[in-house]
Symmetry: C2
Subunit: 67 residues, 2 copies
DNA sequence: ATATTATATACCATATCGGGTATAATGTCA
DNA sequence: TGACATTATACCCGATATGGTATATAATAT
């Protein structure tokens, strides 16, 4: 699983939201939220950032191992 | 400019590569490389990661301010 | 200023993402 | 076990990103 997918899934659950609720609140489509959390590689960056911004984050370059 | 665009541009120049050379080596299209470095938001994450991986990086969730 | 190289912008074609919906699979709890 | 909620997978279709190419602009050097 990629770091962004894990991050979103983890944070969403911590917030006590279902994928559907999260999709609603973020303005993203449910299908996209599912794809994202599933680790789909070909998602669009702007949508990814919309999701991340729900938790005050954005996509940045980082080391593969996350260190 | 977004952090990923800046990162790629900076690293590419440090490596002494033109956009064209970088596109060749990474297998990405020249047009994509240009769009990415220009900060286009709607690029695809898989391509973004292909570019980042040229420098041993991947997209990860990070704070907006980069701290 | 001119020549050369690098980067930016525009157009067209094809591939594919995203939304919506339906269905299947998985998880959770009494 | 069954009932319910949540998540995963599949389909269609409209919108758009990507690649290729050509052209314009910018930067660099002589």
């Amino acid at each position: 699983m990629n770091p962004i997918a894990e991050f979103v899934k983890k944070r969403r659950k911590e917030a006590g939201l279902t994928q559907e609720e999260f999709a609603m609140r973020s303005g993203l489509g449910l299908r996209f939220v599912r794809d994202l959390e599933q680790g789909k590689e070909t998602v669009r960056m702007d949508k990814v950032n919309t999701a991340l911004e729900m938790f005050g984050a954005v996509a940045v370059p980082g080391r593969k191992d996350g260190r």
